[in-house]
């Protein structure tokens, strides 16, 4: 039996930035001190992520995470940390909702340039079982925001 494996089309999912961030995340660190922290669990596959945030006044000063997971989930957490830094909780919740729409549908009519750093994850929408990998860090982050009193 010969079954050729051509993974060219898989670059839609595993875009270069995802490969890079999955391998060398910039925000994988245990933030301390912090204002809010929360864990996310995907018991079906064993993924786990903890997100911590530090506030400065009404904006997120820094975000860090510790993850046990695949390239998608680590890259998603890392890009998320980029995207939310310097934003207010209200802005972040909007981002989270747009991100959700984007990875579920593959499109995001309402997305502005603020979403550009997150666009590499758009390929996830074709991999239903991997959606959770991409959204888990966001769920944890929203939990951390809540814990910080800005939920």
């Amino acid at each position: 039996m010969s079954q050729a494996a051509s993974f060219d089309d898989m670059r839609d999912l595993y875009q270069e930035v995802i490969m890079a961030r999955g391998r060398h995340p910039q925000h994988q660190l245990r933030l301390d001190p912090y204002d809010g922290a929360a864990k996310g669990d995907n018991p079906m596959c064993g993924d786990r992520v903890e997100v911590r945030i530090r506030m400065a006044g009404d904006t997120i000063a820094e975000a860090g995470f510790e993850a046990r997971g695949c390239a998608i989930s680590v890259a998603s957490a890392d890009l998320m940390a980029d995207a939310i830094t310097g934003r207010t909780p209200t802005e972040v919740r909007t981002l989270a909702e747009r991100f959700r729409v984007m990875v579920h549908t593959g499109a995001c009519p309402d997305c502005g340039p603020e979403m550009d750093p997150l666009r590499p994850l758009v390929g996830v929408h074709e991999f239903k079982s991997r959606l959770k990998c991409a959204t888990l860090p966001w769920d944890a982050m929203l939990g951390a925001l809540k814990e910080s009193g800005h939920g």
């Binding site: 079954q3 494996a5 595993y14 596959c45 064993g46 993924d47």
Partner: protein, 412 residues
């Protein structure tokens, strides 16, 4: 790479009996290497279920009419088939549940309710959650101690540790897998049972994986309870089996209450039906039992000798081929093992590996395999797992290995 040896059974003839195996996935032929999660079903089983619903169906044990009589006969005859399959002393010792998980929960509730605080249940580090959580719940409910026998780095039962945990005679029940769903390890069940009995304990084997690959003889093992699940044995979902010695089952209180499990009911006092009915409340999975019987007959017709030889050849070939993939580490090195191979690949998480394999039509499972404590013991977050069935071919294993090479390159 090792030589491809002739398969000890006619795989192509067998494959023809599994319609799903001719499906394609992402335009590629399906290479289904996830049988340990659930196996595919032969036409014989599918037809037996459909025919029941088309030609001869009614509720069981309740009707005096022809359809109910015949359906009851068909349903009940599955007990004979199961008893024969595992060489149980009596068909009346065969209790139907919906899966292995329910069977173990039944035991934990019912047999567990006869245990005293101070007594212990002994499991191992390599159990499936189905054989951990029910005992934790018993521990937390009833003050029963939960002991964990260690495994060696090779993934075998640590015999010295096992014996030492039996030593004080307070273990009421050893509940152990007969074959690990992650490592492929077969546990030495007869020796385990003998040691348990010597220490005054009863022993239950979780045979969810084991009975798929090799003949099981509960009398030869001297087991007290044995559990398996239909959907892994080429049978339907929705049905599992608890076998137990009659004297033990007889002394156990029922688990669930309802129709079919009673002797007589009054609001003041209700009496129980005899074993096995005492444990089968409500309308049972009738069509599923009939399908399970057909699955058992099908497995018997293929023959466990042929199955075991075939799967040994597959496993040997897989271990050899995977050893050649750079950065791939096989998890579990047990001497005595069945057709399940877990592995990790350097630089690629198991989920990413599984997604790429899937793109090439190859279905494996990735994650913690419902064995989180074992993952912790092994020091891994997750593994990818290829598992084999009677329909798996050496060629499919080559596709797996070849594809893994490409996956490695992709993530390099």
């Amino acid at each position: 790479m090792t030589m491809i040896r002739p398969a000890p059974l006619d795989v192509e003839r067998i494959r023809a009996e599994f319609p799903i195996l001719s499906e394609t996935v992402h335009g590629k032929p399906l290479v289904f290497l996830d049988s340990a999660a659930s196996s595919m079903k032969p036409t014989a089983v599918i037809d037996a279920m459909a025919d029941t619903m088309r030609k001869q169906y009614a509720n069981v044990h309740r009707g005096l009419h022809w359809m109910s009589e015949r359906t009851t006969d068909a349903y009940e005859s599955t007990r004979d088939a199961v008893a024969r399959l595992m060489n149980a002393p009596s068909r009346d010792e065969i209790v139907f549940a919906k899966n292995s998980t329910e069977a173990i929960n039944l035991l934990a509730h019912s047999y567990g309710s006869l245990m005293q605080p101070g007594q212990a249940v002994l499991i191992t580090e390599m159990e499936h959650h189905a054989n951990i959580v029910p005992w934790q719940m018993l521990r937390d409910r009833a003050g029963i101690e939960l002991r964990i026998a260690r495994i060696t780095d090779a993934g075998e039962l640590d015999w010295a540790d096992y014996e030492s945990k039996l030593a004080d005679g307070r273990v009421a029940l050893v509940a152990m897998t007969h074959m690990s769903n992650v490592l492929g390890t077969y546990t030495p069940a007869a020796r385990i049972a003998a040691a348990a009995h010597a220490a005054g304990a009863k022993v239950m084997f979780d045979g969810s994986q084991a009975i798929v690959h090799r003949r099981v003889d509960v009398q030869a093992l001297d087991a007290d309870f044995y559990v398996f699940t239909g959907h892994k044995l080429y049978g339907p979902t929705g049905i599992g089996v608890l076998w137990g010695r009659m004297a033990l089952l007889d002394a156990m209180p029922p688990f669930m209450g309802g129709g079919d499990m009673i002797g007589s009911v009054s609001f003041e006092k209700t009496t129980w039906a005899r074993v096995p009915h005492k444990f089968e409340a409500g309308t049972p999975p009738i069509v599923e039992a009939i399908g399970l019987k057909r699955a058992i007959e099908w497995v018997e017709a293929v023959g466990y000798d042929a199955i075991a030889a075939h799967e040994a050849a597959l496993t040997e070939h897989a271990l050899a081929r995977l050893a050649d993939v750079k950065g791939l580490r096989v998890i579990g090195q047990a001497q005595d093992r069945g057709g399940v191979v877990s592995f990790t690949l350097d630089g690629a998480h198991a989920h990413d590996v599984a997604t790429l394999l899937d793109r090439n039509g190859v279905a494996v499972r990735a994650g913690n395999h419902c064995a989180e404590p074992l993952m912790r013991r092994l020091g891994v977050d997750s593994t990818a797992r290829a598992s084999f069935g009677v329909y798996t071919t050496l060629g499919e294993i080559d596709v797996l290995a070849d594809t893994l090479e490409r996956v490695r390159e992709f993530f390099a």
